[in-house]
Structures are given as C-alpha cells and as structure tokens.
C-alpha cells in the first residue's frame, strides 16, 4: 500500500454554514493544557476551593469541642474520678463514678425498653402493605417523634412515671430516654428490613417458611448491621440528653448500687445532669470535674458508635466471606 492510496479520494466538502451550525463555536479546543484563563476551568477550580473550605469549616466545631474537652477535661481525669462520689462544695477531691454508673444503667434500661418495641414495630411496618393505614400513621408518628423536643419527653415521663410512683427515679429517666430513642430505632430498623432483597424473602417462602420463620431466619439476620447502626445512634442520643433527666431522674450524690441493693426507684445521678449542675457552680474543682465528666461522656458515646460499627462490619464480612 502506497502513501497515496491511504489518502481519501473524495474529500468531504464542509457544509457551507458549518461555522454557524457548530454548537461549540467560540470555544477553543485547540489547547489541551489546563489553563485558568479559560472560564470553565477557572469555575471548576473555584468550586473545588469553596467545597474544601466549607468542609473544613464544618469540621471546626467537632474538632474544637473534642480538643477543648481533651485539654480541659483530661487534667482532672484520674482513677478517683471513676470511683469516687461527687465532692461537696470546697472539697478538692471526689469524682463522678455514680454518675457514670447512673448513665449506664438509665441508658441501658432505656435501650431494653425501646429496642424490642422498635424492632417489633419495624417488622410490622416493613411487612405491611403500602396502603396499610395503621402502618402509615405509626410511621408518621415516628417521624414526628424524631424531631420531638427532648424536654417534652421529660415532662411526659414526669407525668406518667414520677407522679405515679411518687418520686424521681432511674426508671422514670429510662422511660423518658426510651421515648427519644424509639423513633430512631424504629425507622432505621424498618429501612434495614426493607433493604433485604425481596428475592431472599421469596426464596424463604418458596422453601416453605412461615411468615415468622421468614422474619426470624432471613429478614432479621440479614438486616442486623442496619438495625445495630440505628440502635447505636439512639444510644448515643440518649446518653447525651440532659433535659428529660432533670424531670425524671434528677440527681443523687450517692451510689445507685449500694451493698448489693440496686435502688432503681431513687433519684439517680447521670453524667449529663452532673455536667449541667457542676458547670454552673462557683467552685474550681466542680467546674473542672464538669469538664472531665463531659470528656468521659463523649468517649462513652464514641465507644458506643465504634462498637456498633465493628459489630455491623463483622456481620457484613460474614455475609461476604464467612
């Protein structure tokens, strides 16, 4: 093949109005190099810059709070802080061991109340048909409840439990927190169950599984990572709430468990209320203790989130590889 044969014999004639018909006229494609002088490149770089700055701005509150907590709270953190009772005014020692225990017990009980209710109703919602009136009203109520002012949950539990039992108690606090935790658990669990591919559900039913067996043996195990995430989010929210506990558990300077007796019907200390109380006191020791308690609370919430993530990742891994 010679050089001449490669050349096209009939040259394609350009359309007479080619220049005007070209939708890209005026755009210079001749240079392949990136140049900020071209408006489209400049705009792209500008947007990237704005997005980066905004992202950094969004991170400032989180990191400055954690940083400040570590700096101010870290100094007071000692073994005594975890084992001793809150100090009296002008006392230079003491700790907040009873508040840590109180938070664990109250949030634990709230979880025990809200998880079964949340997951069972999530199963109902996920299994119900789209035109089920009861399901859509429950779902609507849960969505409203996610934005529920937490102080109202406290007032509600005050009316329901505190007045009925005649006093502030850990149980009243747990009821108040469970109201706040329920919608998160319910809605995320419903989503997680709905995300299970319908072909898996079909497979179970095709094998002769009853509805209950399908839920217990296929839907729930497959949805576990999503459900756990919701539970951990709810626990993190519940642990940080102060207002509802002011109306329900109040505070205590004593241990919740004393000589083997668990006093669930007594006013109970919690980290959030301790921070609220001590932060406003005119004593340096109490103020520093409030910082330390805040650090412990944040670390506890962080730990709950990490555990949740590790658990759900394990589940996902076992789904993938065994």
């Amino acid at each position: 093949m010679t050089q001449e044969e490669v050349k096209p014999t009939t040259a394609i004639q350009p359309h007479p109005d080619a220049e005007e018909l070209n939708p890209f006229r005026g755009v210079d494609f001749s240079k392949l190099e990136r140049s900020l002088r071209r408006p489209r490149t400049l705009l792209s770089v500008l947007f990237s810059g704005i997005i980066t700055v905004m992202t950094l701005l969004a991170m400032i509150p989180l990191f400055s709070v954690v940083g400040l907590l570590l700096w101010r709270g870290g100094r007071k953190l000692s073994i005594a802080a975890f084992t001793q009772l809150p100090p009296a005014p002008l006392d230079l020692n003491g700790g907040f061991g009873n508040a840590i225990l109180g938070t664990l017990v109250i949030v634990g009980m709230a979880t025990l109340i809200s998880v079964p209710i949340g997951i069972f109703s999530a199963i109902f919602l996920a299994q119900s048909k789209s035109d089920n009136r009861l399901a859509s009203s429950v779902r609507f109520a849960a969505k409203v409840l996610t934005g529920f002012p937490s102080i109202l949950a406290g007032v509600f539990a005050y009316g329901l439990v505190v007045t009925a039992t005649g006093g502030y108690s850990a149980i009243a606090g747990a009821v108040a927190l469970s109201i706040l935790m329920l919608p998160t658990i319910l809605l995320t669990a419903e989503d997680a169950i709905r995300m299970v591919p319908s072909k898996m559900k079909e497979a179970a039913i095709g094998m002769g599984a009853t509805d209950a067996q399908t839920v217990w043996m296929v839907l729930l195990p497959t949805a576990v990572p999503g459900i756990l995430t919701g539970v951990m989010l709810a626990i993190a929210r519940g642990a940080g709430e102060t207002a509802p506990l002011l109306f329900t558990s109040l505070f205590s300077n004593y241990w919740l468990i004393w000589h083997g007796h668990v006093k669930l019907m007594q006013p109970t200390a919690s980290l959030a209320v301790l921070i609220y109380n001590f932060a406003g006191m005119p004593y340096a020791n109490q103020e520093e203790m409030a910082w330390a308690a805040a650090l412990v609370l944040v670390l506890m919430v962080l730990a709950a989130n990490l555990i949740g993530q590790i658990l759900s990742r394990k589940q996902v891994d076992s789904n993938k590889q065994g």
């Binding site: 072909k199 497979a203 095709g206 094998m207 002769g208 043996m217 195990p221 497959t222 789904n319 590889q321």
Partner: protein, 281 residues
C-alpha cells in the same frame, strides 16, 4: 410436624373425589387451570398439564404467555401476589392443593422451587443448604444431609473447603446450584425451576441441565424456559403456551402438550409449529 396426609388421608380423599378415582399413578401433579387472575387481569386460562413422575416437563412459549404463572400456581407462590385469584385445581397426593383446608406453607415444603435469579441467603454455604432442615426442625444428621444435597447438586467438590464462606461469594452458576441444593435438601417430591438458567453463561447452563437429568431420577421436575434448545435437550414432556390477545388483554393458554419429541418434530397445532420454527418468539 403435620403433613399433608394428616390433613386428609389419601385413601379417604381418593374415595370421596370421583376425579381421582382413575388418577394415573405415574402422574405426580395434575394441574388444571380454568382461570388465573392478577387483580382484574386474566393471566392464564384453560391450561391442563400433568407432571409425570420422575420426568422433566418443560413449559415453553413467548414472553408474557403465563408460563411462569402456571409454574408458580403449582406451589402456591402466586398467593404472595395481591389480588391473585385461581380457579381450577392442582391435584397432588390425591388432594387439591387449593383446597380450603390446605396450608400453602405445607404445600411449599413438598414442592420446592428454584427461581430465575440465584437467590442464596446472606449466610454461609452450609447454612443456606441447612435452611430447610432448620425450618422443619430436622432431627437427623444435618452434616450428612447437607453434604448429600450439595453432592446431588454437583456442587460439593467446588465448595467442600469453603462451607463457611458466604453463599453470595460464589459465582452465578454455583449460586444457582446452591439454590438447587437448598431446595432438594428437604427431599421435596416435585422441583419447580423458573427459568433457572436465564441469568447464567452457557457453561453453567449446561451444568444445570446435566444436573436436571440426574435429579429427575429422584424428583419430578417442571421447568419454565425461554430457551427452546434447552427444552429440547432436557424435557421428556413439553407444553406450549401462547398468548390470546383477542379480548384486549394478554391471556396465556395451553396450545399443545405432549412428548417433547412430538412437540418439536411433529407439532399438531399451527402456532406450535410457527414458534418451533422461530417465526416469532
């Protein structure tokens, strides 16, 4: 565990039901669909297909002719679809599985199904196969039963070292054989296959076909397939369904049913002939 026999003894029903008086013992299931509706849409009409014991019966026909609907009527999978209505009868073990006293859950334990898309559970290979055993509170040797099912599904050699791996980590063809193993672990009498190879490559397809020929020694098999060559290769009996569009709706009906040899070589009906020749698909 209550069984179908507990609901009504076979002898009693055979005596009480004149239709069964002369039932052919070689027929595992006798399916007579007068009409099947999805809501107000009539999906299938006038279809009568007997499934021969230890034979493969294929349902062929163009898209939307209701062949999958017919298959899913055989173990009441259509009950899951809202607005589904069935008129007719499906005789199995001497009784109508659409009878008022029959529990569809029990029906599905005797009549297994494998779907178009491989659908293993998000759990280990072992647990996938053992699923049916757990459903039925199986008391015997689970390990031996799982191994037997996997061997029957020609999958054992490929997965014996990774029984604890997720079923989802297997290839498409392996997943489908896993689903077959899962379905046969509980020793159903009938195995329904709803286009089991349509999501698989030719090699995996051939493996499943070989497997079907092996499995028909132990089970009665019904298969829906879009692939004429596949029906020709594996099926002993073939039913051809076609779509009736005369009253505006698309209603499937059985055009012809017979030995595969006859359907593919000397079809009696004009539509069958055209379809086999590839005049439409």
């Amino acid at each position: 565990m209550p069984t179908l026999e507990d609901v009504k003894p076979e002898s009693a029903i055979a005596a009480s039901n004149p239709r069964n008086g002369n039932a052919d013992p070689a027929v595992a299931m006798d399916c007579t669909i007068k009409e099947a509706f999805y809501g107000s849409v009539k999906a299938v009409r006038d279809t009568k297909i007997p499934l021969q014991k230890n034979a493969i019966t294929a349902f062929i026909g163009p898209s939307g002719c209701g062949k999958s609907t017919v298959l899913r009527c055989l173990n009441r999978m259509n009950d899951l679809i809202r607005g589904f209505r069935f008129e007719g009868s499906v005789q199995f073990r001497g009784q109508d599985i659409y009878g008022a006293k029959v529990d569809p859950v029990m029906v599905r334990r005797y009549i297994g199904i494998v779907f178009q898309q491989p659908n293993p559970f998000a759990t280990s290979v072992y647990n996938n196969v053992a699923f049916g055993l757990r459903l039925n509170a199986f008391k015997g040797d689970s390990h031996a039963t799982v191994e037997k099912a996997l061997k029957s599904a020609a999958l054992w050699d490929e997965v014996k070292d990774k029984l604890n791996s997720s079923g989802l980590s297997l290839s498409g063809g392996q997943q489908q054989r896993l689903c077959i193993a899962r379905a046969i672990a509980t020793e159903p009498e009938v195995l329904l296959l709803d286009e089991p190879c349509s999501a698989l490559d030719p090699v995996a397809t051939r493996q499943i076909e070989d497997l079907m020929k092996e499995l028909k020694k132990r089970f009665t098999i019904a298969i829906v397939t879009h692939n004429l060559a596949q029906a020709k290769r594996v099926a002993d009996k073939t039913g051809f369904l076609y779509v009736d569009t005369s009253d505006g709706a698309r209603t499937g009906y059985l055009v012809e049913f017979g030995d595969s040899d006859q359907i593919f070589n000397q079809p009696k009906e004009k539509e069958t002939q055209q379809y086999i020749n590839g005049d439409f698909s």
